[in-house]
Symmetry: C2
Amino acid sequence: MTKHLLRDLDQLKKHLLEVGGLVEDAIHKATTALLERRVDLAQEVMGGDGEIDDREVAIEEECLKILALHQPVAADLRFIVAVLKVNNDLERMGDLAVNIAERSQELAATAPTPMPTGFPIMIAKVEEMVRDCLGALVALDMDRARKVVDADDEVDDIHRQTFLEMQGIMREHPDQVVRATAIISVSRNLERIADQATNIAEDVMFMVDGDIVRHGGASTP
Amino acid sequence: MTKHLLRDLDQLKKHLLEVGGLVEDAIHKATTALLERRVDLAQEVMGGDGEIDDREVAIEEECLKILALHQPVAADLRFIVAVLKVNNDLERMGDLAVNIAERSQELAATAPTPMPTGFPIMIAKVEEMVRDCLGALVALDMDRARKVVDADDEVDDIHRQTFLEMQGIMREHPDQVVRATAIISVSRNLERIADQATNIAEDVMFMVDGDIVRHGGASTP
């Protein structure tokens, strides 16, 4: 690898982690807005999404430049392709955080009712997954990637549990249908963020191992 | 462009359209399973997803090979990057079709009730969007891409309408909460497929125009 390519890849990693930080921050604010009924935080998330969108476009351009300029092969090429996909995933995670912020704002306008019991753990897990999948990518850390994949099942379980909890509430308290469907929506958006983090982690494992980890190992090369 | 690169890009387009055909087919079967209570079709969709997953991996490898072998630049490079992202999107559309198939199977086991009034139009629109975004990509057809972006608003409207329709049913008939939430889930999965198609169409417009169409035009280059 030439010194220039090395330097450009380092920059690329740095920029990707910066977007990751913005996305983590958006998720944290959106969920705090939910739990603490903080409309101001929800609005910050909505207002900050343009920055994440801009960064996505800039990182894609950076990847294209590196490909055209250095024409990398083998592991470097595979890494850049992974960055292109992860970059896309991060932007969508930002959109999902905006969805959560929107629901949080709506819920803050209704009478306060207890949140699902699993939410604090679910939120903490999802935030950790986002951090870990990006950490795994830049360090090509197989163990950290596997940790993300394992955590996804726990998040899925909490989502299912919340879903049933809310269905029960709707059956018994038809006047709470709007609130309960908004909470299901938050839970689903959290679960989708976890899915995106899992996709990234699986891409990392695929890159490190050269093996097919994706799609639950069901597919053959 | 060398003759070899041209030939390889043609092959790539052909393979991408084949996966697109599989995805369209999966969406069509999953929604027919829903409307006609055809559990057999739902199971076909679930069983066929492995094929779509395998194709995704194969197309990504094909892209990597073309990048390493021909080291394309400018428009060709941009096209391959778009294919990498679209390939990823197609695989996820396949997953969304599986989600619909799963809900269809569940709903077929409950007492038959009328489907939301907007579903037949929504389904037809979503299938058309999938076809159009891929057509737009391989022909770099700006008008066809714009058609997809425009259709997305209509699908969003129908989704919102279905959502409200189902909330009303849950409020008045608490015994139908499970059925209504399953229908909302189908509607949301259709809306997400439309979103993916819109992402693809926006990528095409971005590629053709070199301009920032993505993210609602809100971002600056």
